[in-house]
Symmetry: C2
Subunit: 312 residues, 2 copies
Protein backbone atom coordinates (compact mmCIF):
# COMPACT_ATOMS: atom_id res chain seq x y z
CA UNK A 1 0.00 0.00 0.00
CA UNK A 2 1.34 3.46 -0.84
CA UNK A 3 1.89 6.08 1.84
CA UNK A 4 -0.89 8.28 0.46
CA UNK A 5 -3.30 5.54 1.47
CA UNK A 6 -1.82 5.12 4.95
CA UNK A 7 -2.13 8.84 5.59
CA UNK A 8 -5.66 8.93 4.27
CA UNK A 9 -6.68 5.98 6.43
CA UNK A 10 -5.24 7.73 9.46
CA UNK A 11 -7.33 10.82 8.78
CA UNK A 12 -10.43 8.76 8.03
CA UNK A 13 -10.19 6.62 11.14
CA UNK A 14 -9.58 9.54 13.50
CA UNK A 15 -13.24 10.31 14.21
CA UNK A 16 -15.24 7.22 13.37
CA UNK A 17 -18.60 6.60 15.09
CA UNK A 18 -18.22 4.24 18.07
CA UNK A 19 -20.43 1.67 19.79
CA UNK A 20 -19.96 0.18 23.29
CA UNK A 21 -19.77 -3.35 21.82
CA UNK A 22 -16.66 -2.45 19.79
CA UNK A 23 -13.65 -3.02 22.07
CA UNK A 24 -11.02 -2.54 19.35
CA UNK A 25 -11.83 -0.68 16.15
CA UNK A 26 -9.78 0.54 13.21
CA UNK A 27 -6.02 0.01 13.30
CA UNK A 28 -5.60 -3.62 14.30
CA UNK A 29 -5.71 -6.83 12.27
CA UNK A 30 -9.38 -7.32 13.13
CA UNK A 31 -12.02 -5.34 15.00
CA UNK A 32 -12.87 -6.94 18.36
CA UNK A 33 -16.51 -6.93 19.48
CA UNK A 34 -18.20 -7.97 22.69
CA UNK A 35 -21.57 -9.32 21.55
CA UNK A 36 -22.49 -10.72 24.96
CA UNK A 37 -21.26 -14.31 24.80
CA UNK A 38 -19.97 -15.19 28.28
CA UNK A 39 -16.70 -16.81 27.19
CA UNK A 40 -15.87 -15.37 23.78
CA UNK A 41 -15.30 -12.15 21.89
CA UNK A 42 -16.04 -11.71 18.20
CA UNK A 43 -13.43 -10.82 15.57
CA UNK A 44 -14.60 -8.91 12.49
CA UNK A 45 -12.46 -8.39 9.40
CA UNK A 46 -12.76 -7.43 5.74
CA UNK A 47 -10.25 -7.69 2.92
CA UNK A 48 -10.37 -7.43 -0.87
CA UNK A 49 -8.33 -8.75 -3.80
CA UNK A 50 -8.41 -7.14 -7.25
CA UNK A 51 -7.39 -8.51 -10.66
CA UNK A 52 -4.15 -6.96 -11.84
CA UNK A 53 -3.26 -5.89 -8.29
CA UNK A 54 -3.37 -9.02 -6.11
CA UNK A 55 -3.49 -11.63 -8.86
CA UNK A 56 -3.00 -11.67 -12.63
CA UNK A 57 -5.76 -12.27 -15.17
CA UNK A 58 -4.25 -15.67 -16.04
CA UNK A 59 -4.15 -16.89 -12.42
CA UNK A 60 -5.96 -20.21 -11.85
CA UNK A 61 -9.38 -19.28 -10.38
CA UNK A 62 -9.12 -21.80 -7.53
CA UNK A 63 -6.00 -19.98 -6.34
CA UNK A 64 -7.73 -16.59 -6.55
CA UNK A 65 -10.50 -17.89 -4.29
CA UNK A 66 -7.97 -19.47 -1.98
CA UNK A 67 -5.96 -16.27 -1.66
CA UNK A 68 -9.00 -14.04 -1.06
CA UNK A 69 -10.11 -16.18 1.89
CA UNK A 70 -6.62 -17.01 3.20
CA UNK A 71 -5.66 -13.32 3.54
CA UNK A 72 -8.56 -12.74 5.91
CA UNK A 73 -7.76 -15.93 7.82
CA UNK A 74 -4.21 -14.67 8.30
CA UNK A 75 -5.58 -11.56 10.04
CA UNK A 76 -7.72 -13.71 12.35
CA UNK A 77 -4.68 -15.86 13.12
CA UNK A 78 -2.78 -12.75 14.18
CA UNK A 79 -5.36 -12.07 16.93
CA UNK A 80 -5.29 -15.68 18.20
CA UNK A 81 -8.72 -16.27 16.68
CA UNK A 82 -10.75 -19.08 15.14
CA UNK A 83 -12.82 -18.43 12.01
CA UNK A 84 -16.59 -18.95 12.10
CA UNK A 85 -18.15 -17.58 8.91
CA UNK A 86 -17.36 -15.50 5.83
CA UNK A 87 -19.46 -13.57 3.32
CA UNK A 88 -18.20 -13.23 -0.24
CA UNK A 89 -18.78 -10.11 -2.37
CA UNK A 90 -17.91 -10.68 -6.02
CA UNK A 91 -17.43 -7.80 -8.44
CA UNK A 92 -17.79 -9.54 -11.79
CA UNK A 93 -16.85 -8.36 -15.24
CA UNK A 94 -19.79 -8.07 -17.65
CA UNK A 95 -18.63 -11.04 -19.73
CA UNK A 96 -17.78 -13.26 -16.77
CA UNK A 97 -17.57 -17.01 -17.29
CA UNK A 98 -19.78 -18.84 -14.75
CA UNK A 99 -17.36 -21.79 -14.73
CA UNK A 100 -14.54 -19.44 -13.75
CA UNK A 101 -16.59 -18.09 -10.86
CA UNK A 102 -17.50 -21.60 -9.74
CA UNK A 103 -13.80 -22.48 -9.71
CA UNK A 104 -13.11 -19.43 -7.50
CA UNK A 105 -15.69 -20.81 -5.08
CA UNK A 106 -14.07 -24.26 -5.26
CA UNK A 107 -10.82 -22.78 -4.02
CA UNK A 108 -12.55 -20.87 -1.24
CA UNK A 109 -14.79 -23.74 -0.21
CA UNK A 110 -11.90 -26.20 0.03
CA UNK A 111 -10.01 -23.87 2.35
CA UNK A 112 -13.12 -23.01 4.40
CA UNK A 113 -13.87 -26.70 4.85
CA UNK A 114 -10.30 -27.43 5.88
CA UNK A 115 -10.28 -24.73 8.57
CA UNK A 116 -13.82 -25.59 9.71
CA UNK A 117 -15.65 -22.38 8.85
CA UNK A 118 -18.83 -21.55 6.94
CA UNK A 119 -19.32 -19.51 3.79
CA UNK A 120 -22.60 -17.97 4.92
CA UNK A 121 -23.54 -16.21 1.68
CA UNK A 122 -22.62 -13.03 -0.08
CA UNK A 123 -23.43 -10.77 -2.93
CA UNK A 124 -22.50 -10.29 -6.56
CA UNK A 125 -22.29 -6.99 -8.36
CA UNK A 126 -20.82 -5.75 -11.61
CA UNK A 127 -17.26 -4.36 -11.70
CA UNK A 128 -16.94 -4.05 -15.47
CA UNK A 129 -13.17 -3.89 -16.00
CA UNK A 130 -11.80 -6.43 -13.54
CA UNK A 131 -12.67 -9.14 -11.06
CA UNK A 132 -12.78 -8.01 -7.44
CA UNK A 133 -13.43 -10.22 -4.42
CA UNK A 134 -14.16 -8.72 -1.04
CA UNK A 135 -14.30 -11.11 1.90
CA UNK A 136 -15.81 -10.27 5.25
CA UNK A 137 -15.22 -12.63 8.12
CA UNK A 138 -16.43 -13.29 11.63
CA UNK A 139 -14.22 -15.19 14.04
CA UNK A 140 -14.12 -16.04 17.69
CA UNK A 141 -11.48 -15.68 20.39
CA UNK A 142 -11.66 -16.68 24.06
CA UNK A 143 -12.52 -13.57 26.09
CA UNK A 144 -9.31 -11.78 27.13
CA UNK A 145 -7.13 -13.93 24.85
CA UNK A 146 -7.15 -11.56 21.83
CA UNK A 147 -3.67 -10.29 20.94
CA UNK A 148 -3.49 -6.69 19.70
CA UNK A 149 -0.71 -4.77 18.00
CA UNK A 150 -0.37 -2.30 20.83
CA UNK A 151 1.19 -4.24 23.71
CA UNK A 152 4.90 -4.49 22.80
CA UNK A 153 7.27 -3.49 25.62
CA UNK A 154 10.97 -2.49 25.64
CA UNK A 155 13.05 -5.63 26.15
CA UNK A 156 10.56 -7.90 24.36
CA UNK A 157 12.00 -10.41 21.92
CA UNK A 158 10.66 -10.09 18.35
CA UNK A 159 9.73 -13.31 16.53
CA UNK A 160 8.58 -14.16 13.05
CA UNK A 161 7.20 -17.46 11.70
CA UNK A 162 8.30 -18.99 8.39
CA UNK A 163 10.58 -17.33 5.87
CA UNK A 164 10.23 -13.91 4.29
CA UNK A 165 10.51 -12.38 0.82
CA UNK A 166 9.85 -13.56 -2.72
CA UNK A 167 6.21 -14.40 -2.04
CA UNK A 168 5.12 -13.10 -5.44
CA UNK A 169 7.16 -15.93 -7.05
CA UNK A 170 4.22 -18.20 -6.10
CA UNK A 171 3.72 -18.50 -2.37
CA UNK A 172 1.16 -15.67 -2.19
CA UNK A 173 -1.31 -17.97 -3.94
CA UNK A 174 -0.80 -20.98 -1.68
CA UNK A 175 0.45 -19.84 1.73
CA UNK A 176 -0.86 -21.44 4.89
CA UNK A 177 -2.68 -19.04 7.23
CA UNK A 178 -1.05 -19.51 10.66
CA UNK A 179 -4.30 -20.21 12.51
CA UNK A 180 -3.09 -23.09 14.69
CA UNK A 181 0.13 -21.24 15.46
CA UNK A 182 -1.67 -18.00 16.40
CA UNK A 183 -4.09 -19.81 18.72
CA UNK A 184 -1.32 -21.82 20.34
CA UNK A 185 0.81 -18.73 20.91
CA UNK A 186 -2.09 -16.73 22.39
CA UNK A 187 -3.17 -19.65 24.56
CA UNK A 188 0.23 -20.67 25.93
CA UNK A 189 2.43 -17.58 26.07
CA UNK A 190 2.22 -13.99 27.20
CA UNK A 191 2.27 -12.57 23.66
CA UNK A 192 2.48 -8.79 24.02
CA UNK A 193 1.74 -7.85 20.41
CA UNK A 194 1.07 -9.76 17.20
CA UNK A 195 0.14 -9.02 13.57
CA UNK A 196 0.35 -10.75 10.23
CA UNK A 197 2.87 -9.65 7.62
CA UNK A 198 1.18 -8.37 4.49
CA UNK A 199 3.12 -5.27 3.42
CA UNK A 200 6.64 -6.44 4.36
CA UNK A 201 8.43 -6.76 7.71
CA UNK A 202 10.02 -3.29 7.69
CA UNK A 203 6.70 -1.56 7.03
CA UNK A 204 4.45 -3.79 9.11
CA UNK A 205 6.66 -3.81 12.21
CA UNK A 206 6.07 -0.05 12.32
CA UNK A 207 2.39 -0.67 13.10
CA UNK A 208 3.33 -2.58 16.25
CA UNK A 209 5.93 0.04 17.19
CA UNK A 210 3.56 2.94 16.65
CA UNK A 211 0.68 1.22 18.43
CA UNK A 212 2.96 0.41 21.37
CA UNK A 213 5.01 3.64 21.46
CA UNK A 214 8.35 1.79 21.15
CA UNK A 215 11.16 1.09 18.68
CA UNK A 216 13.02 -2.03 17.51
CA UNK A 217 16.48 -3.33 16.80
CA UNK A 218 16.66 -6.12 14.21
CA UNK A 219 19.56 -8.50 13.65
CA UNK A 220 20.06 -8.85 9.89
CA UNK A 221 21.60 -12.31 10.06
CA UNK A 222 18.61 -13.61 12.06
CA UNK A 223 15.97 -12.58 9.53
CA UNK A 224 14.76 -15.74 7.77
CA UNK A 225 15.12 -15.24 4.02
CA UNK A 226 13.06 -17.46 1.74
CA UNK A 227 14.62 -19.65 -0.91
CA UNK A 228 12.42 -17.86 -3.45
CA UNK A 229 13.94 -14.48 -2.54
CA UNK A 230 17.48 -15.90 -2.82
CA UNK A 231 16.83 -17.58 -6.16
CA UNK A 232 15.13 -14.51 -7.57
CA UNK A 233 18.05 -12.29 -6.54
CA UNK A 234 20.49 -14.69 -8.23
CA UNK A 235 18.42 -15.04 -11.42
CA UNK A 236 17.69 -11.38 -12.06
CA UNK A 237 20.31 -8.67 -11.74
CA UNK A 238 17.58 -6.06 -11.23
CA UNK A 239 16.05 -7.97 -8.30
CA UNK A 240 16.42 -6.77 -4.71
CA UNK A 241 19.25 -8.27 -2.61
CA UNK A 242 17.75 -11.15 -0.56
CA UNK A 243 17.77 -9.36 2.81
CA UNK A 244 16.04 -6.31 1.36
CA UNK A 245 13.47 -8.62 -0.26
CA UNK A 246 12.81 -10.27 3.11
CA UNK A 247 12.36 -6.86 4.71
CA UNK A 248 10.15 -5.26 2.08
CA UNK A 249 8.57 -7.70 -0.40
CA UNK A 250 5.19 -8.08 1.32
CA UNK A 251 2.52 -10.78 1.02
CA UNK A 252 4.41 -13.04 3.43
CA UNK A 253 1.34 -13.76 5.60
CA UNK A 254 3.56 -14.91 8.45
CA UNK A 255 3.05 -13.96 12.11
CA UNK A 256 5.16 -11.21 13.66
CA UNK A 257 4.97 -11.03 17.45
CA UNK A 258 6.75 -9.97 20.62
CA UNK A 259 6.94 -11.50 24.08
CA UNK A 260 9.09 -10.99 27.20
CA UNK A 261 12.65 -12.01 26.32
CA UNK A 262 12.85 -14.32 29.36
CA UNK A 263 10.22 -16.53 27.65
CA UNK A 264 12.09 -16.68 24.33
CA UNK A 265 14.08 -19.86 24.87
CA UNK A 266 11.11 -21.72 26.34
CA UNK A 267 9.03 -20.70 23.35
CA UNK A 268 11.62 -21.89 20.83
CA UNK A 269 11.83 -25.27 22.57
CA UNK A 270 8.07 -25.77 22.82
CA UNK A 271 7.55 -24.56 19.22
CA UNK A 272 9.85 -27.24 17.79
CA UNK A 273 7.72 -29.92 19.41
CA UNK A 274 4.44 -28.33 18.35
CA UNK A 275 5.17 -27.11 14.82
CA UNK A 276 8.25 -29.03 13.60
CA UNK A 277 7.57 -28.04 9.97
CA UNK A 278 7.38 -24.29 10.56
CA UNK A 279 10.44 -22.15 11.17
CA UNK A 280 10.38 -19.72 14.09
CA UNK A 281 13.04 -17.02 14.30
CA UNK A 282 13.95 -14.51 16.98
CA UNK A 283 14.90 -11.51 14.83
CA UNK A 284 15.55 -8.77 17.36
CA UNK A 285 14.24 -6.86 20.33
CA UNK A 286 11.90 -4.02 21.23
CA UNK A 287 13.66 -0.83 22.38
CA UNK A 288 12.46 2.30 24.09
CA UNK A 289 14.26 4.32 21.39
CA UNK A 290 11.82 4.97 18.48
CA UNK A 291 12.44 3.77 14.92
CA UNK A 292 13.91 0.57 13.52
CA UNK A 293 17.64 -0.13 13.57
CA UNK A 294 19.09 -2.99 11.55
CA UNK A 295 22.37 -4.51 12.69
CA UNK A 296 24.25 -6.52 10.04
CA UNK A 297 27.68 -6.92 8.43
CA UNK A 298 27.53 -3.29 7.24
CA UNK A 299 27.12 -2.09 10.81
CA UNK A 300 24.03 -0.32 12.14
CA UNK A 301 21.46 1.02 9.66
CA UNK A 302 18.13 2.75 9.92
CA UNK A 303 15.06 1.43 8.11
CA UNK A 304 12.93 4.26 6.80
CA UNK A 305 9.18 4.39 6.57
CA UNK A 306 9.03 2.83 3.09
CA UNK A 307 10.97 -0.13 4.38
CA UNK A 308 14.07 0.71 2.38
CA UNK A 309 17.51 0.69 3.94
CA UNK A 310 19.59 3.82 4.26
CA UNK A 311 23.11 3.85 5.59
CA UNK A 312 23.55 5.99 8.66
Amino acid sequence: MVMKEFELIERLTAGLPAHPAVLTGAGDDCAVLDLGAPDALTLFKTDAVVEGIHFTADCPPEKIGFKALARCLSDLAAMGGTPVAALVTLGLKRDFDPAFVEAIYSGMNALATRVGMAIAGGETTTNPERLLISISMIGSVPRGMQVLRSGAKPGDAIFVTGELGGSLQGRHLEFEPRLAEGRWLAGNFKIHAMMDLSDGLAGDLRHILKGSGVGAELLGSAIPISRAARLHARAESSAKPPLLAALTDGEDFELLFTLPSRDAVGLLDAWKGQFPGVKLSCIGKITSRQGITLRDKHGMRQLNADGYVHFS
Copy 2:
Protein backbone atom coordinates in the same frame (compact mmCIF):
# COMPACT_ATOMS: atom_id res chain seq x y z
CA MET B 1 -29.51 -7.98 -11.09
CA VAL B 2 -29.71 -10.01 -14.30
CA MET B 3 -31.01 -13.57 -14.31
CA LYS B 4 -27.61 -14.99 -15.20
CA GLU B 5 -26.43 -13.80 -11.81
CA PHE B 6 -29.41 -15.25 -9.94
CA GLU B 7 -28.84 -18.64 -11.54
CA LEU B 8 -25.14 -18.53 -10.82
CA ILE B 9 -25.74 -17.62 -7.19
CA GLU B 10 -28.12 -20.53 -6.87
CA ARG B 11 -25.48 -22.93 -8.14
CA LEU B 12 -22.76 -21.37 -6.00
CA THR B 13 -24.78 -21.45 -2.79
CA ALA B 14 -25.93 -25.06 -3.20
CA GLY B 15 -22.94 -26.67 -1.49
CA LEU B 16 -21.32 -24.05 0.71
CA PRO B 17 -19.29 -25.10 3.77
CA ALA B 18 -21.39 -24.92 6.96
CA HIS B 19 -20.69 -24.23 10.63
CA PRO B 20 -22.95 -25.02 13.62
CA ALA B 21 -23.02 -21.32 14.61
CA VAL B 22 -24.63 -20.34 11.29
CA LEU B 23 -28.41 -20.73 11.74
CA THR B 24 -29.35 -19.09 8.42
CA GLY B 25 -26.86 -18.84 5.58
CA ALA B 26 -27.07 -17.75 1.96
CA GLY B 27 -30.47 -16.76 0.57
CA ASP B 28 -31.90 -14.39 3.16
CA ASP B 29 -31.38 -10.65 3.73
CA CYS B 30 -28.66 -11.38 6.30
CA ALA B 31 -26.93 -14.48 7.63
CA VAL B 32 -28.00 -15.31 11.19
CA LEU B 33 -25.34 -16.58 13.63
CA ASP B 34 -25.53 -17.90 17.15
CA LEU B 35 -22.28 -16.72 18.75
CA GLY B 36 -23.28 -17.75 22.25
CA ALA B 37 -24.89 -14.61 23.69
CA PRO B 38 -27.77 -15.74 25.92
CA ASP B 39 -30.37 -13.27 24.61
CA ALA B 40 -29.27 -12.28 21.13
CA LEU B 41 -28.37 -13.63 17.73
CA THR B 42 -25.94 -11.95 15.34
CA LEU B 43 -26.84 -10.69 11.86
CA PHE B 44 -24.09 -10.59 9.25
CA LYS B 45 -24.43 -8.85 5.89
CA THR B 46 -22.31 -7.54 3.04
CA ASP B 47 -23.24 -5.26 0.14
CA ALA B 48 -21.32 -3.28 -2.47
CA VAL B 49 -21.97 -0.19 -4.61
CA VAL B 50 -20.02 0.54 -7.79
CA GLU B 51 -19.56 3.79 -9.71
CA GLY B 52 -21.58 3.78 -12.93
CA ILE B 53 -23.82 0.99 -11.61
CA HIS B 54 -25.25 2.19 -8.29
CA PHE B 55 -24.28 5.85 -8.53
CA THR B 56 -22.98 8.17 -11.24
CA ALA B 57 -19.50 9.68 -11.30
CA ASP B 58 -20.96 13.13 -10.57
CA CYS B 59 -22.91 12.01 -7.51
CA PRO B 60 -22.15 14.01 -4.34
CA PRO B 61 -19.71 11.85 -2.32
CA GLU B 62 -21.67 12.24 0.94
CA LYS B 63 -24.63 10.60 -0.79
CA ILE B 64 -22.48 7.75 -2.11
CA GLY B 65 -21.33 7.01 1.44
CA PHE B 66 -24.86 7.34 2.72
CA LYS B 67 -26.23 4.92 0.13
CA ALA B 68 -23.51 2.31 0.64
CA LEU B 69 -24.26 2.09 4.36
CA ALA B 70 -28.04 2.56 4.09
CA ARG B 71 -28.43 -0.41 1.71
CA CYS B 72 -26.91 -2.73 4.31
CA LEU B 73 -29.02 -1.18 7.07
CA SER B 74 -32.11 -1.87 5.00
CA ASP B 75 -31.22 -5.58 4.98
CA LEU B 76 -30.78 -5.58 8.75
CA ALA B 77 -34.14 -3.81 9.12
CA ALA B 78 -35.77 -6.60 7.12
CA MET B 79 -34.69 -9.17 9.74
CA GLY B 80 -35.94 -7.03 12.67
CA GLY B 81 -32.34 -6.24 13.60
CA THR B 82 -30.33 -3.43 15.17
CA PRO B 83 -26.95 -2.46 13.66
CA VAL B 84 -23.81 -2.71 15.80
CA ALA B 85 -20.75 -2.19 13.59
CA ALA B 86 -19.67 -1.92 9.96
CA LEU B 87 -16.36 -2.33 8.14
CA VAL B 88 -15.75 -0.31 4.97
CA THR B 89 -13.76 -1.64 2.01
CA LEU B 90 -12.91 1.08 -0.49
CA GLY B 91 -11.73 0.27 -4.00
CA LEU B 92 -10.15 3.57 -5.05
CA LYS B 93 -9.16 4.81 -8.49
CA ARG B 94 -5.45 5.50 -8.88
CA ASP B 95 -5.97 9.26 -9.05
CA PHE B 96 -8.45 9.44 -6.20
CA ASP B 97 -9.00 12.75 -4.43
CA PRO B 98 -8.55 12.36 -0.65
CA ALA B 99 -11.14 15.11 -0.03
CA PHE B 100 -13.67 13.11 -2.06
CA VAL B 101 -13.00 10.01 0.02
CA GLU B 102 -13.30 11.99 3.24
CA ALA B 103 -16.67 13.29 2.05
CA ILE B 104 -17.82 9.70 1.42
CA TYR B 105 -16.93 8.95 5.03
CA SER B 106 -18.81 12.07 6.19
CA GLY B 107 -21.97 10.69 4.62
CA MET B 108 -21.44 7.27 6.16
CA ASN B 109 -20.45 8.58 9.56
CA ALA B 110 -23.47 10.87 9.81
CA LEU B 111 -25.82 7.97 9.10
CA ALA B 112 -23.92 5.58 11.41
CA THR B 113 -24.08 8.13 14.22
CA ARG B 114 -27.77 8.69 13.67
CA VAL B 115 -28.60 4.96 13.88
CA GLY B 116 -26.19 4.41 16.80
CA MET B 117 -23.67 2.06 15.18
CA ALA B 118 -19.88 1.99 14.91
CA ILE B 119 -17.66 2.14 11.86
CA ALA B 120 -15.08 -0.29 13.22
CA GLY B 121 -12.46 0.05 10.48
CA GLY B 122 -11.95 -1.29 7.01
CA GLU B 123 -9.55 -1.57 4.17
CA THR B 124 -8.59 0.35 1.05
CA THR B 125 -7.43 -1.20 -2.16
CA THR B 126 -6.98 -0.04 -5.74
CA ASN B 127 -9.81 -0.51 -8.25
CA PRO B 128 -8.30 1.51 -11.11
CA GLU B 129 -11.30 2.29 -13.29
CA ARG B 130 -14.06 3.10 -10.81
CA LEU B 131 -14.88 3.67 -7.18
CA LEU B 132 -16.28 0.63 -5.38
CA ILE B 133 -17.48 0.53 -1.77
CA SER B 134 -18.17 -2.78 -0.06
CA ILE B 135 -19.79 -2.61 3.37
CA SER B 136 -19.91 -5.47 5.79
CA MET B 137 -22.12 -5.19 8.80
CA ILE B 138 -22.82 -6.91 12.09
CA GLY B 139 -26.17 -6.46 13.77
CA SER B 140 -28.08 -7.90 16.66
CA VAL B 141 -31.57 -9.33 17.00
CA PRO B 142 -33.27 -10.71 20.12
CA ARG B 143 -32.96 -14.50 20.04
CA GLY B 144 -35.93 -16.01 18.19
CA MET B 145 -37.15 -12.62 16.93
CA GLN B 146 -35.35 -12.71 13.55
CA VAL B 147 -37.74 -12.65 10.58
CA LEU B 148 -36.74 -14.76 7.58
CA ARG B 149 -38.05 -14.83 4.01
CA SER B 150 -39.26 -18.39 4.29
CA GLY B 151 -42.27 -18.28 6.64
CA ALA B 152 -45.10 -16.94 4.45
CA LYS B 153 -48.33 -19.00 4.65
CA PRO B 154 -51.38 -19.18 2.36
CA GLY B 155 -53.94 -16.66 3.58
CA ASP B 156 -51.31 -14.22 4.87
CA ALA B 157 -51.84 -10.57 4.04
CA ILE B 158 -48.98 -8.95 2.11
CA PHE B 159 -47.85 -5.48 3.20
CA VAL B 160 -45.38 -2.96 1.93
CA THR B 161 -44.08 0.22 3.59
CA GLY B 162 -43.74 3.55 1.78
CA GLU B 163 -44.30 4.09 -1.94
CA LEU B 164 -42.70 2.24 -4.81
CA GLY B 165 -41.08 3.09 -8.15
CA GLY B 166 -39.06 5.98 -9.50
CA SER B 167 -36.34 5.66 -6.85
CA LEU B 168 -33.62 6.45 -9.39
CA GLN B 169 -35.10 9.95 -9.75
CA GLY B 170 -33.34 10.71 -6.44
CA ARG B 171 -34.71 8.70 -3.53
CA HIS B 172 -32.09 5.91 -3.90
CA LEU B 173 -29.50 8.38 -2.55
CA GLU B 174 -31.48 9.53 0.48
CA PHE B 175 -33.97 6.84 1.48
CA GLU B 176 -34.56 6.06 5.12
CA PRO B 177 -33.66 2.47 6.13
CA ARG B 178 -36.74 1.12 7.93
CA LEU B 179 -34.90 0.05 11.08
CA ALA B 180 -37.42 1.27 13.65
CA GLU B 181 -40.28 -0.12 11.58
CA GLY B 182 -38.63 -3.53 11.15
CA ARG B 183 -37.88 -3.87 14.87
CA TRP B 184 -41.39 -2.76 15.83
CA LEU B 185 -42.99 -5.21 13.41
CA ALA B 186 -40.83 -8.13 14.58
CA GLY B 187 -41.38 -7.26 18.23
CA ASN B 188 -45.13 -6.69 18.17
CA PHE B 189 -46.63 -8.87 15.44
CA LYS B 190 -46.37 -12.41 14.17
CA ILE B 191 -44.53 -11.45 10.97
CA HIS B 192 -44.27 -14.64 8.91
CA ALA B 193 -41.80 -13.39 6.29
CA MET B 194 -40.04 -10.11 5.60
CA MET B 195 -37.43 -8.72 3.20
CA ASP B 196 -36.34 -5.35 1.87
CA LEU B 197 -37.15 -4.30 -1.69
CA SER B 198 -34.01 -3.76 -3.72
CA ASP B 199 -34.71 -5.30 -7.16
CA GLY B 200 -38.38 -4.34 -7.47
CA LEU B 201 -41.55 -5.73 -5.90
CA ALA B 202 -42.36 -8.23 -8.67
CA GLY B 203 -38.89 -9.75 -8.57
CA ASP B 204 -38.24 -9.56 -4.84
CA LEU B 205 -41.62 -11.01 -3.81
CA ARG B 206 -40.55 -14.15 -5.66
CA HIS B 207 -37.80 -14.72 -3.06
CA ILE B 208 -40.39 -14.88 -0.28
CA LEU B 209 -42.67 -17.08 -2.40
CA LYS B 210 -39.89 -19.45 -3.36
CA GLY B 211 -38.49 -19.60 0.17
CA SER B 212 -41.95 -20.32 1.54
CA GLY B 213 -43.27 -22.60 -1.23
CA VAL B 214 -46.32 -20.42 -1.91
CA GLY B 215 -47.75 -17.93 -4.45
CA ALA B 216 -49.33 -14.49 -4.27
CA GLU B 217 -52.22 -12.46 -5.57
CA LEU B 218 -51.63 -8.71 -5.75
CA LEU B 219 -54.29 -6.01 -6.07
CA GLY B 220 -53.03 -3.45 -8.60
CA SER B 221 -55.01 -0.55 -7.18
CA ALA B 222 -53.56 -1.17 -3.71
CA ILE B 223 -49.90 -0.94 -4.76
CA PRO B 224 -48.56 2.41 -3.52
CA ILE B 225 -47.04 4.26 -6.47
CA SER B 226 -44.55 7.01 -5.74
CA ARG B 227 -45.02 10.55 -6.96
CA ALA B 228 -41.63 10.25 -8.67
CA ALA B 229 -42.83 7.29 -10.75
CA ARG B 230 -46.02 9.15 -11.75
CA LEU B 231 -44.18 12.35 -12.68
CA HIS B 232 -41.55 10.45 -14.62
CA ALA B 233 -44.23 8.57 -16.60
CA ARG B 234 -45.93 11.85 -17.44
CA ALA B 235 -42.71 13.65 -18.39
CA GLU B 236 -41.18 10.99 -20.63
CA SER B 237 -43.16 9.10 -23.21
CA SER B 238 -40.60 6.26 -23.15
CA ALA B 239 -40.94 5.81 -19.35
CA LYS B 240 -42.74 2.82 -17.83
CA PRO B 241 -46.42 3.26 -16.88
CA PRO B 242 -46.53 4.11 -13.13
CA LEU B 243 -47.84 0.72 -11.94
CA LEU B 244 -45.15 -1.13 -13.89
CA ALA B 245 -42.52 1.21 -12.43
CA ALA B 246 -43.79 0.45 -8.91
CA LEU B 247 -43.59 -3.27 -9.64
CA THR B 248 -40.18 -3.37 -11.28
CA ASP B 249 -38.06 -0.23 -10.78
CA GLY B 250 -35.98 -1.49 -7.87
CA GLU B 251 -33.96 0.38 -5.24
CA ASP B 252 -37.10 1.10 -3.19
CA PHE B 253 -35.55 -0.12 0.10
CA GLU B 254 -38.99 -0.49 1.63
CA LEU B 255 -40.08 -3.47 3.74
CA LEU B 256 -42.19 -6.22 2.19
CA PHE B 257 -43.77 -8.60 4.70
CA THR B 258 -46.60 -11.00 5.35
CA LEU B 259 -48.63 -11.79 8.45
CA PRO B 260 -51.86 -13.66 9.24
CA SER B 261 -54.72 -11.76 7.59
CA ARG B 262 -56.67 -11.67 10.87
CA ASP B 263 -53.96 -9.35 12.25
CA ALA B 264 -54.05 -6.98 9.26
CA VAL B 265 -56.55 -4.45 10.57
CA GLY B 266 -54.95 -4.31 14.00
CA LEU B 267 -51.58 -3.72 12.38
CA LEU B 268 -52.86 -0.88 10.21
CA ASP B 269 -54.40 0.82 13.24
CA ALA B 270 -51.34 0.46 15.44
CA TRP B 271 -49.03 1.52 12.59
CA LYS B 272 -50.79 4.88 12.14
CA GLY B 273 -50.12 5.71 15.77
CA GLN B 274 -46.52 4.52 15.65
CA PHE B 275 -45.32 5.74 12.25
CA PRO B 276 -47.72 8.48 11.15
CA GLY B 277 -45.32 9.71 8.46
CA VAL B 278 -44.81 6.35 6.74
CA LYS B 279 -47.40 4.80 4.49
CA LEU B 280 -48.31 1.14 5.04
CA SER B 281 -50.28 -0.69 2.36
CA CYS B 282 -51.91 -4.10 2.25
CA ILE B 283 -51.27 -5.06 -1.38
CA GLY B 284 -52.55 -8.62 -1.61
CA LYS B 285 -52.48 -12.08 -0.13
CA ILE B 286 -50.40 -15.24 -0.11
CA THR B 287 -51.95 -18.17 -2.02
CA SER B 288 -51.19 -21.85 -2.15
CA ARG B 289 -51.16 -21.58 -5.96
CA GLN B 290 -47.61 -20.79 -7.15
CA GLY B 291 -46.69 -17.66 -9.09
CA ILE B 292 -47.83 -14.06 -8.85
CA THR B 293 -51.21 -12.93 -10.12
CA LEU B 294 -51.99 -9.23 -10.47
CA ARG B 295 -55.63 -8.15 -10.36
CA ASP B 296 -56.34 -4.71 -11.83
CA LYS B 297 -58.66 -2.90 -14.26
CA HIS B 298 -57.39 -5.12 -17.09
CA GLY B 299 -58.49 -8.24 -15.21
CA MET B 300 -56.12 -10.94 -13.95
CA ARG B 301 -52.54 -10.95 -15.19
CA GLN B 302 -49.47 -13.02 -14.47
CA LEU B 303 -46.19 -11.41 -13.49
CA ASN B 304 -43.25 -13.24 -15.01
CA ALA B 305 -39.84 -13.77 -13.51
CA ASP B 306 -38.37 -10.53 -14.88
CA GLY B 307 -41.13 -8.61 -13.19
CA TYR B 308 -42.78 -7.61 -16.46
CA VAL B 309 -46.52 -7.96 -16.95
CA HIS B 310 -47.96 -10.32 -19.51
CA PHE B 311 -51.64 -10.56 -20.24
CA SER B 312 -53.10 -13.97 -19.59
